[in-house]
Symmetry: C2
Subunit: 350 residues, 2 copies
DNA sequence: AAAGTTGTTGTAATCGGTTGCAATATAAAA
DNA sequence: TTTTATATTGCAACCGATTACAACAACTTT
């Protein structure tokens, strides 16, 4: 058909309308499956649209509807296993629901986080999914969104605010379980390697650590708490710090796996037996935890699921299916995964 | 000022124009720093815009300009270290240049890849960055883009097409180096674990493996080539296959690290000494390669940089700064990283 | 003083859908 | 047959920014 060879120009609903001798309004309704359009007409419209190679112009549509079908995502960093799982989960849900994701990294600074938020605001995202940077103190930079009623959902690294839902795991409980487990394996002097305490995740894990000590009537020794940025290098530095302690600890609980693993390896190289001398536990169930020797005890942390839940909640709020304003916090399951790095009874060491 | 309290309504250039008693056209020009606008007027416009809390409406602008400032990215999967580094690199470059990224996953199927491409096409991305799925046979699904002159750049898993630039490393050479290194360590029967040979990366690595054998006058034994999907499970399966060989190989070169590591660990558990009995090498320099014992020899693969280069090239093409149509392939540096898993001379084994 | 520049601003059409309201046709009820 | 309800469709005004072109002022040049 010669219709196909209309050249490179973009087909609009006006072209379809002209071809079919109906009004653009009807074409628009037809394409959107509006109930007030005759089924026959719809069919004709769809066919002609396909035949002419029509594609909807999102901008014209967005401009009119005042809606973008776009969700903004701000994360500290993309290149961690946990974060890319989260994004993967979000992408799936969003994609299925016809939403696009715009992703940006704060690189752990509040400043870039604010800039990114502004960009997202100008791009008029329909909603925001955020995991906070290390040094974010307040959420002033999200005020514009809240003022306009644009939903902001925090995940993992959350901020308590009445207008914002947070999606987390119970970090206190998980850390408490980890610590209790170590204590159960005979540990009495447990080092805790923590991150920036501004962030709930690390503060809560520290709290869980403290609670567990208290539960077992162990005294809290602040010298055993090492604050770091939880990087691989920080794990090595922590190991060196541990090696210089007067009395060596008999357990280490690090707030993430990357740091736990590098710390473990450094100590091992220094001749320390894991878990006999020092039992180890991390957090996240990162792939490396299953590779390091001995395998690392850790907390399984559902990244993919967290992404799905965050996106799902945002989208159903946007669609009016549900209202997240009533929901303040969603807590996902997490699970202690016991592996050889913390098992002193030989039962599970093969 | 009462100007600030105009409520929740969105400020437009018309509002600014009215307030300043000038025309919207001048406001538009002023905000875009058009040279024909008086400096004083510009200053007034900027100030008023700020004061009134104006934000540009991207849709109106895009609708008019026929441009989106958005780049589409299609990758097989997000949750691998390599891929998230790539995305991180792209995000940085794009963000700095005022572009947004729309990201989607093909989940390794050509079908979803095609769907995603269609979505991107409808979202009218200015350009596309693609790493192909496992089973993609052709690039029909990108024809719409090419026909319209929308640039498509492939990275890592590329497709040779005169209209598309590809960004890769020299997989043949890298694999040849790996294999030569193993041969240099005394290996004579080297297993190669490869992926889907439709993809250049795996086909090329296989080619490099073969070339290296030829270089050293070693006979090619097709039984030593194991084709898999390169997953962790495939590594384990490969190990089992290896254990059942009549004559054990003395080297294994896997086309990625995840697979290499699980294979190595399985063999090790079966009592095989690494590297004495079987020397090992992988590909990617994934974090796990530095954690497994012994540490894995591998090829350092610049993911972050690849992302930067891909995005940079696309953007400068879009801005007219450079033209990628003349460039068909960009090859990035890669580097053999020798670690204990392949070192038989004790020199580097501590 | 007339003509030509240069600098600055305004007018109005345009990008492509969406949607409240009115109009018409058709069928059902009175 | 008239009235009323229902199903379809069209009209036209948006949404907010961009830009070709015209208009005008102020200043030079001849």
């Amino acid at each position: 058909m010669e219709l196909l060879s209309t050249g490179n120009k973009e087909i609009t609903i006006y072209d379809i309308a002209r071809e079919l001798n109906i009004s653009p309004a009807t074409v628009s309704r037809g394409l959107n499956d509006h109930p007030a359009v005759n089924k026959e007409t719809k069919k004709k419209i769809f066919n002609m649209a396909k035949e002419m190679g029509y594609r909807s112009n999102t901008f014209a549509s967005n401009l009119r509807r005042q809606r973008t079908n776009t969700i903004g995502v701000i994360v500290p960093r993309l290149n961690s296993n946990f974060m890319s799982s989260v994004i993967a989960g979000m992408e799936k849900v969003a994609n299925d629901a016809g939403y696009n994701l715009i992703i940006s990294q704060s690189l752990e600074t509040a400043k870039k986080e604010a800039t990114n938020a502004q960009t997202m605001f100008n791009s008029r995202v329909d909603g925001l999914l955020v995991s906070l940077a290390y040094d974010t103190d307040n959420i002033e930079h999200f005020k514009d969104f809240l003022k306009k009623g644009i939903p902001v959902i925090f995940f993992d690294r959350v901020f308590n605010h009445k207008q914002c839902t947070g999606i987390v795991i119970d970090n206190v409980k998980a850390a408490q379980e980890v610590t209790s487990h170590l204590i159960g394996q005979g540990c009495r002097r447990i080092v805790h390697i923590t991150g920036n305490l501004k962030r709930n995740v690390y503060a809560d894990r520290l709290k869980g650590y403290k609670y567990a000590l208290a539960d077992h009537n162990l005294e809290l020794d602040n010298n055993l708490i090492i604050q770091t940025n939880l990087s691989v290098e920080d794990g090595i530095a922590a190991a060196e710090k541990i090696l210089q302690m007067n009395t060596l600890p008999d357990g280490v609980f690090a707030a993430n796996d990357a740091c736990a693993v590098s710390c473990l390896q450094t100590l091992k190289q220094a001749g320390i037996a894991i878990p006999q001398d020092i039992a180890f536990a991390g957090f996240n169930n990162d792939p490396v935890s299953k590779v390091v020797e001995p395998n690392l005890t850790t907390v399984d942390y559902p990244g993919y699921e967290m992404g799905e839940v965050a996106a799902q909640n945002l989208i159903s709020h946007l669609n009016g299916t549900s209202n997240i304003n009533s929901t303040n916090t969603i807590i996902l399951r997490s699970e202690l995964v016991i592996r050889a790095s913390s098992l002193r009874s030989d039962s599970l060491n093969k």
